[in-house]
Amino acid sequence: MAAVVLPGTPRSRPPPALTVIACAHCGLPVPAGRVAPQDSQQFCCDGCSSVHAVLSAAGLTDYYAHQISSDAALASPRPTLRKFEELDEPAFQTRHCQQLGDGLRSTELFLEGVHCSACVWLVERLGRVVPAVVNARFDLTRSVLQVTWNGEVAPLSAVARALDSLGYCPHPSGSTNVVAQQRKGDRALLLRLGVAGAAAGNVMLMALALYSGKPAGMSQEYLALFRWGSFLIATPTVFWTGSVFFRGALAALRTRTAHMDLPVSLGILAGYLGSASNTLRGHGDIYFDSLCTLIFLLLVGRYLQRTQQRRSAKASQLISALAPTTARLVEADRLREVPAGDVAVGAIVEVLPGERIAVDGVVTQGFSSVDASLLTGESLPQNVAVGDRVHAGTTNQSATLRVRVESAGAATRLGRLMHSVETTQRERAPIVRLADRVAGYFVVGIVFVALATLLFWWHFDAAHALDHTVALLVVTCPCALGMATPLAVSAALRQAAAAGVLFKGGEFIEELAQPGVMVFDKTGTLTEGRLDLVAWDGDESVKPLLRAAEATSGHPIARAVQRALTENELLCCDRTELPSGLRARVADQTVLMGSQAMIGAELGSLPLWALRSVRAHATLGRTPVVIAVENTVRAVAAFADRVRPDAATNLKRLHALGFELHVLSGDHQEVVAAVAAELGVPLRSAQGGASPESKLAFVAELRKRAKRVFMVGDGVNDAAAMAAANVGIAVHGGAEACLAAADVFTTRPGLEPVLLAAAGARRTVRVIRGGIVLSLAYNLVGIGLAVTGQLDPLLAAVLMPLSSITVVTLAMRATTFRHRSSS
């Protein structure tokens, strides 16, 4: 390693002569190489300076006044620079946009990166940046911008580009139909919740009159009034607001699965029928107050779960719902952007450096290097020349390529891979949740106890046998049990999202809480996913020459050099790219750099020290580059995809949590072995050279052996394996396809969030279990009272909310995912 950072020493100390200059946009320190003394404002990156330029031009610099310095998670904005032309397609417009007349149109865009009050202020003033925008309203809960713009003045893509320039990358927010449907569902549930609450309050008032009047003796007409009053309110409450549970119970019966709604419906129905018949007969106990409270509390749990869960799921689904990428079709006299799936086989498309290749095909013109790390997991880019095959989903790096299309859209290797992700995901067995499993036993137990009670009292006191049985069913109705999971899960989802871990559903929390095999991808997951200069053997004075020679290239090795050596003082001229290296003239000297083979061919032979150094680095899985000046080998630089600084400690902690660790990568075996050795993963659990298909096979094989498998990855090549695993976890910076397949994804870089997800999941399940045990304990007390015939409606009315409140407090107060900085 070139730089060893001792624990306790600061990572980067600013030079003593300079004070730290804060970026005028984001406030992060400006790197020394970027400081421009003549300017009044300094910026840490191009993203910040361009956003600042847009804001000043639009007169929106008040943004900085709205920024709350402390908790706004500062990050440099990174415009994606996409063109968003797909948003102007007529098909997209009809599906996602509403026509409002006068050329006005309205749509919803999901925005990434809006997290504070200043961001809301800024995006709602979008009209200052794009005058065509008439109105912009942001919904922070859903992270969705409702935008109305004049379609005759500017296309939607211009609006999207403006948002992107500000650092808020927009995505289409699902078709208007789906959005409307979901909103309708939310509102319907909220309405039921409100009605159930009002009913519960009023019935309880009448119940209070009944309870307090009972010892003093209440005259018959008042008794009847309150009974019939409660009956009147409770009937629509039970059958309308409570129908949610009856429907769930029916579905569970039909599919013969255990579900929480089953015991709930049993209790509600038994309680209602018993109380209704007692009202009609004019004597006996009624439980309308307990029933209404029960329904109200259960609906609260359900509502919280629905909104919270959707919020977590949404971010991931929307990012994956990206409009199709476009390809630049080369026609006789011009270039035209078309949807990538519509390109005909045999057509020629152009791919600029830095762009994602949209089709599978053969290079017909150009020479470049292609980064396939997302598709195959190989950390090194491959050189491609005329006649070589390139795949959709890989990134063209150094020069413009022309590609003859062999397959496009779903027929590409990427398309087939995504298809297998879909089928695997569909065939995956649903997770049986803990509460539902408990409910299955519970309902059997309750029916049994109820029958026993009925038979027992039939013998001794036939007149009250039915009353006692109804009392039993009401008091055991698992209100607290039904709330334990939704509340704990929704509280946990909220905490997890704040800590940078998004679960697509509560069931994955329960699944992740159990130990199993955790399979890690290497490139981009355990490592940084980019090359870095990690070692330098030989003459240090060559470095400036190398820096100058690599100053303008976008090749990963050149980028690594640019990052490692920030100062560039020399000028380079006459730069020629060679098949695996380059030749340049810097400061009147000829610099030649490239692989050992290439330099060997050019110079005849290499000195012994250089050969040794090359071999040593190669066995460590690094990429050695030989540098020669004026035909003399002067230095060997080694490049590697560095292991993330937090990987080793977090893997150790995951291992301590009981996970069996495994590294599975598409990269070469030596590289994988070197990384595994550095991380302390046993060599037999580190496997290289795995294609996406063999990753899927590996996970499927593990699952067949009845093991619980968690797949952690970031690339398209992991997507199928993720879908097949019990839980797929996508780390920050992963490919869109990978986010679609994942069940959990992290929004902070590194592996620490993965550890947090696993540890937090365990804490959440502990909370859920605690809630279930508590509610069962309350139920046991209730059963004891009911079986012995001592339970009256007052006791039931006290016992039920008491147990619910205990469970609610437990669930809401628990710390599950809250990010603990000190550890």
Binding site: W121, R125, T141, D186
Partner: protein, 71 residues
Amino acid sequence: MSIIFLILPITLVMCGGAVAAFAWATRSGQFDDLETPAIRLLHDDSPLPERPRDIAATAPLAAIDSQRLSQ
């Protein structure tokens, strides 16, 4: 005590009114977003500085385009 026969229905009617109001509020989307309005309230204190009309239409977009060209 028999006043209760009058009060109880009146209470129920009033309660029905409240439920109807709630139903209206829910259906018209008053509860769709419970977070942003609290933030928006703090924003509209001072009007933004006026910009000359002619550059208003082009300046910010030009800034975006030049940024795109430079990268």
